[in-house]
């Protein structure tokens, strides 16, 4: 078996295009068998792997401005895969895959201590406080590629890893049948559900290590500085914490870029290289 070059799947979300419509949320829920309850208005117990935050510039009418910020799991690389959540899991239920850069969560291994949730500053991790219940008959739409989570475990965005698996399987089959030259995937063969659904085309997904992929071209990650974007419009959430996330955001608005991290009063913009 040949060794493939390690990939680093990441996302670029263009906040100038994102309209806050919520399609990514539902695309994700529907793809990943995310359950729902009669009342989901308590957002602190509402499982949304992708969550859309509404940011505002804090100015009064009519200078007010708002911006939507979709927040999937940031799939932090941290320092060599030691993302905030991965190293704290006591039972090895979450893992950082060096070959894909994806932070996994194994629901059947998780025993629900929630330490990873305490570790994640993005609140990207969700706990199943309740048993998932689908109204009679509705369980028919459940996707067999993703397991349904039982009560008492933590779950989160997987970058639709199952789509990578199925795409891989197809590539292997086609390779075996002589229909393609290698089992390497093309950029469009593995896309997350939210990327695919976004009606504004605001989400771009691909391999940050691959210069031919759009994510790489747009974010221009600087490997010398832990993946910091070279694109002046791009920023990452809470970069200063050293989480080294793989989700990049684009905004032409200064206040939005600044909202991506914390700055002391009077502190200038984070210097870029």
């Amino acid at each position: 078996m040949k060794q493939e070059r390690p990939k680093k799947f990441g996302m670029v979300i263009d906040l100038d295009k994102c309209t806050g419509c919520g399609a990514c949320l539902v695309a994700c829920m529907s793809e990943n068998n995310v359950p729902f309850k009669p009342d989901e208005s308590d957002k602190l117990t509402s499982i949304t792997w992708m969550r859309v935050y509404q940011l505002n510039n804090g100015k009064p009418y009519p200078e007010t401005d708002i911006c939507y910020l979709p927040r999937p799991c940031q799939h932090c690389e941290g320092d060599h895969g030691h993302s905030p959540c991965v190293s704290v899991c006591p039972a090895t239920a979450t893992d950082y895959g060096m070959e894909t850069g994806i932070v996994s969560q194994i629901y059947t291994r998780c025993f629900g201590c929630r330490y990873c949730m305490a570790a994640c500053p993005y609140h990207a991790r969700y706990f199943n406080w309740w048993d998932p219940v689908w109204p009679d008959g509705m369980e028919k739409y459940l996707n067999p590629s993703v397991s349904v989570r039982m009560r008492g475990v933590v779950e989160k965005c997987s970058f639709c890893y199952h789509r990578y698996q199925t795409a891989k399987d197809k590539a292997i089959y086609q390779f075996a049948e002589g229909e393609r030259d290698s089992t390497d995937l093309e950029e469009d063969e593995y896309q997350t559900a939210c990327t695919q659904a976004c009606p504004a085309g605001a989400i771009i997904f691909g391999d940050l290590n691959n210069p031919s992929h759009r994510v790489h071209q747009i974010a221009q990650p600087d490997e010398k500085h832990a993946g910091r974007p070279k694109n002046p419009k791009a920023f990452r959430l809470l970069e200063r914490l050293g989480t080294n996330p793989k989700v990049y955001y684009l905004s032409s608005r200064d206040w939005v870029r600044r909202a991506g991290d914390n700055y002391l009063e009077g502190e200038g913009k984070l210097k870029r290289h």
Binding site: D14, D16, K17, T19, G20, C21, G22, A23, L25, V26, A27, M29, S30, N33, F36, P38, D39, E40, S41, K43, T48, V52, Q54, N56, K59, P60, Y61, P62, T64, D65, I66, C67, Y68, T108, D131, P132, W134, P135, D136, G137, M138, E139, K140, Y141, L142, N143, P144, V148, R149, M150, R151, G152, A193, Q196, A197, C198, P199, A200, G201, A202
Partner: protein, 739 residues
């Protein structure tokens, strides 16, 4: 004794040692944890062969192409169809939630007959034969009495074969009362009719627009064909184009716009005329168009010159005169500017004056039927069906006036007036109705002032709903003949909202019908047959599918292979042929245009109601006839819905004056009704306004939707536009008192 006790202890210790040395405790520990990994009450989706089935979404008028992922015979995911002219792979939040409607608990699972009082929720299941027999019997009875006009149909759609079948049925039966729900598109059509003399839909050539000026249209809040608008907006961003949003609330569209101009609500027409003023004054209009094809331009010029100077407009709209001038210059300077109107999601029609003004603005910059402008897209013709044969009863019935007054003065050009229809029935005007069919619509929820609708229902002894869901209207019906959900049926979706080419999308069944339901087309054909000749003879098809295929003889191949048919090489009529008005020119001053500024009508006295309530649309709440699926309700922010309570938006300044703080409970009163709400402080709204999300407050449906929030339609009664007669209410006076 002592030996016994010690031996027993020894036995226990031996037993413990032996147990520890056996697999029992270890396997049991392991298996118990595996049991928690496979809890029998946690569903395990069945695996199988994956395939994709293409179809068209019908949940809104957008006509998006969808690809449904199937696992064996189950539909597991709806995705946007790549390469589709409308949505090209994108899909909206409602479209994504479609499977929750298909497999949801609120489906009507078989024909149902009311068992208790109306609205009591007691039903008995009956067979289709019984149901059709009962309806046919009733219809025969009505015809026998010689008053076929006592049957009315309320349809959510006006275009396509199903409404055509219903309309045909009504004609053959002999009733003029075929009423359809109205939207922004109806206002647009009327504007095109009056100003260009054509019977056509308004198509927007968004691909070539570089300046989009929106008068409160929720370009990114569900207006028109949402996914198409989203993509157009993104393309605009990529191409360096500009979007300017004019509305009093920082909606998602306004937030995404390059410029947000807040305006006194209801004064959009004045702004449009004011922009025209600047454009004319500075001679920035398209001279060739105006001189060769501009009808009554001089009169128009005089009007805007006199009444709509920037200062006057500033006074009316509350917008800085400089902003007006700059905006006019930018708009006219762009190579392909486009102005659009129709508020929010575009589900309600609006003031014709505003449509006239905005359309005139497009004409001034030469945007009519030009790249990047607004195109007249021909309405799909009839389906080549021979005219139905009418007997004497039918002919007599068709002579009767429509109850809603559409097509007759003063609303000659309007096809249907749903708001007036229910008012007339409820008010006992005209002749009484004996029966009403409600198809693909939920007027008891979506129409302004649903109480009037319910009052109208109480005057009609026999209401038949064809709804797939137990919605508010179905709850108030006497009989339900459930339609298939779109994923189970065939249907056509012609001319999606705002699309600029003749287009038909095909809805195809992707799953077997889940319940004992029937396509409404089949039901109508069966009913016609049940009523007998001459009605039956107008419906010679074996079934709806055959009828549909026959309706699109030339397009059928494309429809079945591509999922849609589009006139690829369509070009709008060039200017010399474009205008079918009496003068053959574009009428800048169409019939019905108000001269001089008249403040838009709004219900309620200012004294008792210091605030103005406006509804707003959001992509995350379906305000149409389909109730919010659970997934969508899950995405509704806590600033809009908290528990069962709805929050209204209020400027902090206004809230301060009224003594409200974030989350404060209040009673919102309007001349039409009152509701308990909570207050959400939002900087992005004009002081003095109260904004309320549209689409909540269902009383029907399931526990995931019922009794959450308030239906804003309940608080805002309809206001008839003087030109179209359609509802033009964009708000209402209101007051907020502490609860």
């Amino acid at each position: 004794m002592k030996v016994g006790r010690r031996s027993f202890l020894s036995f226990i210790i031996g037993g413990a040692a032996g147990t520890a040395l056996s697999p029992l405790p270890w396997k049991l520990t392991d298996d118990l944890s595996i049991w928690t990994q496979m809890w029998p009450w946690t569903p395990v989706p069945k695996d199988g062969a994956v395939s994709y089935a293409g179809s068209t979404c019908t949940l809104c008028p957008a006509g998006c192409g969808i690809n449904v992922r199937m696992v064996d015979r189950r539909a597991v995911k709806i995705e946007g169809m790549e390469g589709h002219p409308i949505n090209d792979g994108g899909i909206c939040i409602l479209g994504l939630s479609g499977l929750q409607l298909l497999y949801g608990p609120t489906r009507v699972k078989s024909p149902m007959k009311r068992a208790g009082n109306r609205g009591s929720g007691r039903w008995v299941s009956i067979s289709w034969e019984e149901a059709l027999e009962e309806v046919a019997g009733k219809l025969t009875e009505i015809r026998a009495q010689g008053r076929p006009e006592a049957l009315a149909v309320f349809s959510g759609k006006r275009r396509g074969t199903v409404p055509a079948l219903l309309s045909r049925f009504m004609t053959a039966f002999g009733s003029p009362n075929f009423v359809t729900a109205a939207s922004t598109q109806d206002s647009y059509e009327l504007a095109l009719h009056r100003m260009q003399g054509v019977q056509a839909a308004a198509g927007l050539d968004l691909a070539n627009t570089d300046f989009l000026l929106s008068f409160g249209s929720g370009i990114l809040d569900g207006w028109g064909s949402p996914v198409r608008m989203f993509k157009a907006h993104s393309a605009l961003k990529d191409g360096g184009g500009k979007l300017v949003q004019i509305e009093p609330r920082l909606s998602n569209t306004a937030a995404k716009a390059d410029q947000w101009i807040s305006i006194q609500p209801g004064t959009e027409a004045a702004l449009a005329f004011g922009l025209a003023h600047v454009i004319i004054l500075e001679k920035r209009y398209r001279t060739q168009f105006v001189s060769e094809y501009g009808g009554e331009f001089e009169e128009f010029r005089q009007m805007v010159m006199a009444d709509y100077t920037p200062d006057k407009v500033a006074k009316i709209t509350g917008i800085d005169p400089k902003t007006i001038v700059t905006l006019a210059r930018e708009f006219s300077r762009s190579s392909a500017p486009l102005a659009v109107c129709g508020k929010g999601g575009g589900d309600t029609p609006g003031s014709m004056n505003e449509f006239f003004a905005v359309h005139a603005l497009n004409a001034l910059v030469g945007g009519i039927n030009r790249p990047g402008g607004i195109w007249a897209v021909p309405e799909p013709g009839d389906f080549g069906w021979p005219d139905p044969e009418m007997d004497e009863t039918a002919a007599r019935g068709m002579q009767q006036d429509r109850l809603d007054g559409a097509g007759a003065p003063p609303y000659v050009a309007t096809a249907a007036l749903p708001n007036r229809f229910f008012e007339a029935v409820a008010g006992g005007k005209g002749y009484p109705l004996d029966a009403l069919f409600v198809v693909e619509s939920n007027p008891c929820f979506t129409e302004p002032d649903p109480e009037t609708v319910k009052a109208a229902f109480s005057k009609i002894p026999f209401v038949v709903s064809f709804s797939s869901f137990m919605d508010e209207t179905a709850q108030n019906a006497d009989l339900i003949l459930p339609n298939h959900v779109y994923l189970e049926r065939y249907e056509d979706v012609p001319n999606p909202a705002g699309f600029n080419r003749p287009f038909v999308g095909l809805v195809q069944p992707v799953v077997d019908p889940q319940f004992n339901t029937r396509n409404v087309g089949d039901a109508v054909i069966a009913l016609a047959q049940g009523v007998g000749d001459p009605v039956a003879s107008a419906f010679g098809w074996d079934g709806y599918e055959a009828c549909l295929e026959e309706a699109y003889p030339d397009q059928w191949d494309s429809l079945t292979s591509e999922g849609y048919w589009m006139a690829e090489d369509f070009d709008p009529a060039p200017w010399p042929e474009a205008f079918e008005t009496a003068s053959g020119k574009f009428e800048f001053v169409p019939e019905g245009l108000q001269r001089g500024y008249v403040p838009a009508e709004i219900a309620g006295e200012k004294g008792g109601f210091p605030l103005v309530l406006t509804p707003y649309d959001t992509m995350r709440i379906s305000s149409g006839y389909v109730g919010n699926p659970p997934f969508m309700t899950k995405t509704v922010p806590a600033e809009v819905l908290k528990g069962k309570e709805l929050l209204v938006e209020l400027n902090p300044q206004t809230a301060d004056q009224l003594g409200f703080s974030e989350g404060g409970r209040a009673v919102l009163t309007t001349p039409t009704g009152a509701a308990n709400v909570r207050v959400h402080l939002y900087d992005g709204i004009m002081p003095g306004l109260v904004a309320m999300a549209r689409g909540l407050g269902h009383t029907a449906y399931d526990k995931y939707l019922a009794d959450k929030g308030t239906n804003v339609n309940r608080l805002i009664g309809p206001t008839a536009d003087p030109v179209s007669g359609l509802n033009a209410a964009w708000g209402i006076r209101a007051k907020l008192t502490r609860a």
